[in-house]
């Protein structure tokens, strides 16, 4: 078997892993931000991603809108929808001490959107195939499909925009502060609803980006979302919660793990990913990439 692991093959596996990993990564960034301010895992994240994948699919199928071009409208819609989801569904529950209520709302939302998509669009897997879907670069016997490269680029750009937003804007700083200490944040004059809805807006905005990536790279069906959010959760466990780059790197680590294991032990890659997930949670629950910050 080792003979099979030629240089070009390993390179190919690594690159595939990174490409898929960044997609998990931006889903994980959304989870991390929402968890930071709300203290819940937004389990509907994956299903929202698939929902936006469908929107992008139908925009292409019905109106011929290029999926990448559709981002121009998809992202603003997602950001607005994210804030609206918070205000409509979570605002009341977020004020409660018991976070299980918010968590259950997220689970309910996940199943509702899943059911909606099944009824509306059926269970058959869909994929966008454009004129450039089969375009690929093939340097030195390697194979880089254009759509995956664009996906990678979008993920990295999206993550960079989020990092800059959190660092440079008042409300972005407030979101970071809230994930450290929500009470102290309110003492600064910052409304918890404000930071929660901003976290949701960013999280769902990222889901929009990931949705377009999924639509152009994978074939997907309504139930694919749950799988996706599980991968995002594992990414978070690997990278550690609370940092954007950590979440992105965690996603890349998971992508690599899955890509390599699916070649070495075909069929076992999910099982291996969950074992690593459990091991990390037991051994280093703060995440592999996190240095512990001294509490002020």
């Amino acid at each position: 078997m080792l003979k099979l692991l030629s240089f070009s093959l390993v390179t190919q596996l690594v690159i595939n892993g990174v490409l898929f990993g960044t997609m998990y990564g931006i889903a994980a960034i959304g989870l991390s931000l929402i968890f930071g301010t709300m203290r819940i895992m937004f389990l509907a994240q994956g299903t929202m991603i698939i929902f936006f994948a469908y929107l992008s699919f139908w925009a292409f199928r019905l109106f011929g809108v290029d999926p990448y071009l559709s981002l121009v409208i998809v992202i603003p819609i997602c950001v607005f929808l994210g804030a609206a989801l918070y205000q409509g569904l979570f605002r009341q529950a977020a004020a409660e001490e018991d976070k299980n209520i918010s968590l259950l709302i997220a689970v309910g939302l996940m199943f509702f959107v899943e059911a909606l998509m099944t009824v509306g669009w059926g269970g058959t897997p869909r994929a966008i195939s454009t004129a450039y879907s089969t375009v690929a670069f093939r340097p030195m016997g390697l194979d880089f499909p254009l759509t995956r490269l664009l996906g990678l680029l979008m993920s990295i750009l999206a993550a960079a925009v989020v990092v800059i937003f959190l660092k440079k804007t008042f409300i972005g700083m407030a979101v970071k502060a809230a994930s450290e200490d929500i009470i102290a944040t309110t003492l600064m004059g910052i409304s918890p609803h404000r930071v929660n809805s901003v976290a949701f807006a960013i999280g769902i905005g990222l889901a929009g980006v990931a949705g377009v990536e999924v639509a152009t790279v994978y074939s997907f069906d309504p139930f694919f979302g749950f799988n996706f959010v599980l991968n995002a959760l594992i990414s978070l466990a690997l990278g550690g919660i609370g940092s954007v780059t950590g979440a992105l790197l965690g996603g890349i680590m998971l992508g690599l793990l899955q890509s390599l294991s699916s070649f070495l032990v075909p069929g076992w890659s999910d099982a291996i990913a969950y074992v690593v997930f459990l091991l990390v949670l037991m051994g280093k629950p703060e995440g592999l990439l996190v240095r512990s910050v001294k509490k002020a």
């Binding site: 008042f170 502060a177 003492l187 600064m188 004059g189 409304s191 918890p192 002020a296």
Partner: protein, 243 residues
């Protein structure tokens, strides 16, 4: 009543079924230092948290400049000019000193004069200026307390509530901290001070209240309470005996 910045009238506070404050009333006159002293668990922090809106009063009323603030949310209480430095400082450890100060100026009213407030904060605490790009979590205890007060001052408060500012500081820094409280007060900031360092807290106070098991049991001028044999025996004597 005109010169009362803050009035607390007959406030009851409960944590679940446990009552923490019983019929607490106090007044803080504009421009003064009022100290609130008492043993651990007497309800001092609870009262500050109730004023700043983190806790809810079950009964009673809180007035700021004559207007009721009893039902305001914490973010709105800051906005009208009551700033609360909570127990344990609660800085944003992973953010820089400068970012912490920026967040202190979050209310639009304060943001408009951010540059001015920042200069003031840096004049007051030069060490914060030299460490502005350092993470708040990497500061020493004394520096963290300065940052906590600096951050609270960024919102341009009329009244500053300090919860145990001297906690965990070395004796020299404790003195610095009380000097600072006095000097901020001279600049026109009204102070409501919660302290376990009873002697110092009473010394600088214009007026003081003693809280015991959730009730105000004594009040009077700072020096007056300091001379009171009962206070001496219960709070100050005890401190000496401990040493």
């Amino acid at each position: 009543m005109e010169n009362n910045a803050l009035v607390v009238k007959g406030v009851d506070v409960l944590y679940g079924d446990v009552q923490a404050l019983w019929d607490v009333s106090l007044e803080v006159k504009q421009g003064t230092i009022v100290s609130l002293v008492g043993a651990n668990g007497a309800g001092k922090s609870t009262l500050l948290k109730t004023i700043s809106g983190i806790n809810r009063a079950k009964k009673g009323e809180i007035l700021f400049s004559g207007k009721s603030v009893t039902h305001l949310k914490p973010q709105d209480v800051v906005d009208i000019g009551i700033s609360h430095v909570p127990e344990g400082r609660r800085l944003f450890a992973s953010l820089t000193v400068l970012e912490n100060l920026k967040l202190g100026a979050y209310p639009p009213r304060a943001r408009a004069v951010f540059g001015e407030s920042l200069t003031k904060a840096f004049d007051l605490f030069p060490v914060l200026k030299s460490r502005q790009n350092q993470k708040a979590g990497s500061l020493s205890g004394g520096e963290q307390q300065m940052l906590a007060i600096g951050r609270a001052m960024m919102s341009q408060p009329t009244i500053l509530m300090l919860d145990e500012p001297s906690l965990g500081l070395s004796p020299i820094l404790v003195k610095t901290m009380f000097d600072l409280v006095a000097s901020l007060n001279k600049q026109g900031v009204t102070m409501l001070l919660v302290e376990q360092n009873v002697r110092q807290a009473l010394k600088i106070a214009n007026h003081a209240y003693v809280l015991k098991n959730g009730r105000i049991v004594m009040s009077g001028g700072g020096e007056e309470l300091l001379a009171d044999p009962e206070v001496q025996k219960a709070y100050i004597g005890e401190r000496w005996r401990k040493k």
